[in-house]
């Protein structure tokens, strides 16, 4: 992969890390705040469904995960498994697609 592409991936990972830091903080704080009095699954869905703001927030969360995780795994694959080259990048692209699908499936299930 060219140095330009490598540099771009690094930049994307840093930006997505910043987004994730914010998303994880908001996510955990919301959970801790919301469940204080005890919540059932039905009550949670009652609050979340149709909420466009939270839907948008979790779409951004999933996007950040989809970008961040495969780039990190790319280094893990090359350094620990000695797996480099096109086959590694294609496999990680597929894994990114899986993360996006699984994440959006959950988001649609809870918020749509």
């Amino acid at each position: 992969m060219s140095y330009r592409a490598e540099s771009f991936l690094w930049l994307m990972q840093r930006i997505s890390a910043g987004v994730l830091a914010l998303c994880v903080t908001v996510h955990l704080a919301t959970i801790i705040y919301a469940v204080q009095g005890g919540l059932s699954a039905a009550e949670i869905l009652g609050r979340t469904r149709g909420n466009a703001g939270w839907f948008a927030f979790y779409c951004v969360f999933v996007l950040a995960v989809t970008v961040h995780v495969p780039i990190g795994l790319r280094s893990v694959c090359s350094e620990w498994l000695r797996w480099r080259g096109r086959s590694r990048d294609l496999a990680l692209l597929l894994f990114a697609a899986f993360l996006a699908w699984a994440g959006m499936r959950a988001v649609v299930g809870v918020f749509a």
């Binding site: 992969m1 060219s2 140095y3 330009r4 490598e6 540099s7 771009f8 991936l9 690094w10 930049l11 840093r14 280094s75 090359s78 350094e79 620990w80 480099r84």
Partner: protein, 231 residues
């Protein structure tokens, strides 16, 4: 004290007398001169300037001429081995070619803009760039940082902390004219982007430099160049 010296695949044990202010290099020298003249090791200046006597001491890379035995002795025993991440020539002597070749690969040579007809370049000592250069310029090329780096172990192509630190001091040198070429050389899988910021290099550098900070600086400069469309 009991000293275990790595020779090939095994360790050989020696009994060495203690002296005040004794350094690890003194210990190795004693072994060669009094116990086993076939022991191979490398040193030159003995005062922490040349960077040739670095070895693994109790599994930690150190400059042996400035490492006092008092500081590193564990239960009256010492283990001395050749530097990690470098091919061993014999006993405690490593082949440093790859280490220095990587300096060249990182475009570690100065290429000025001016000719001999020009006046001296004036670089204010307090200028932002010069202050950053000063922080990294005292490297003695001992390869302690290279031996301390886990990324070098995992990715043998990785340029390593010393070469990248050298590149950083040139990236911040306002007189140098091969900046983009150098940023290209230090980018990517084998360059600054491979660094995980473990900080082992900075922790172990005997000159108290921070290759970690230099590498972070390179990442920033490369990112700026990519965003500007120059790379």
């Amino acid at each position: 004290m009991k000293v275990s010296v790595k020779r090939g695949d095994s360790y050989q044990e020696f009994e060495v007398p203690r002296h005040p202010s004794q350094t690890v290099l003194d210990v190795v020298t004693y072994i060669q001169r009094h116990l086993d003249p076939t022991l191979a090791y490398r040193f030159a200046c003995r005062v922490g300037m040349c960077g040739s006597c670095a070895m693994m001491v109790n599994d930690v890379p150190r400059w042996t001429c400035r490492t006092h035995v008092d500081r590193v002795l564990e239960k009256d025993a010492l283990t001395v081995a050749p530097l990690r991440n470098l091919p061993v020539i014999r006993d405690l002597v490593t082949d440093m070619r790859e280490f220095f070749d990587k300096w060249a690969r990182a475009k570690g040579e100065f290429r000025g803009r001016q000719s001999k007809q020009d006046d001296f370049a004036k670089v204010p000592p307090q200028s932002e760039e010069r202050v950053l250069v000063d922080k990294g310029i005292e490297c003695i090329g001992c390869a302690v940082c290279y031996a301390a780096c886990d990324v070098v172990k995992w990715n043998p192509d990785y340029l390593g902390p010393a070469a990248l630190n050298r590149a950083w001091t040139l990236v911040k040198d306002v007189r140098d004219r091969s900046q983009l070429e150098r940023l290209r050389a230090v980018s990517g899988d084998a360059g600054c982007h491979a660094c995980h910021s473990h900080v082992s290099c900075t922790e172990r550098c005997p000159k108290h430099l921070s290759p970690t900070a230099a590498i972070a600086g390179l990442k920033r400069e490369v990112a700026k160049a990519v965003l500007r469309g120059e790379l």
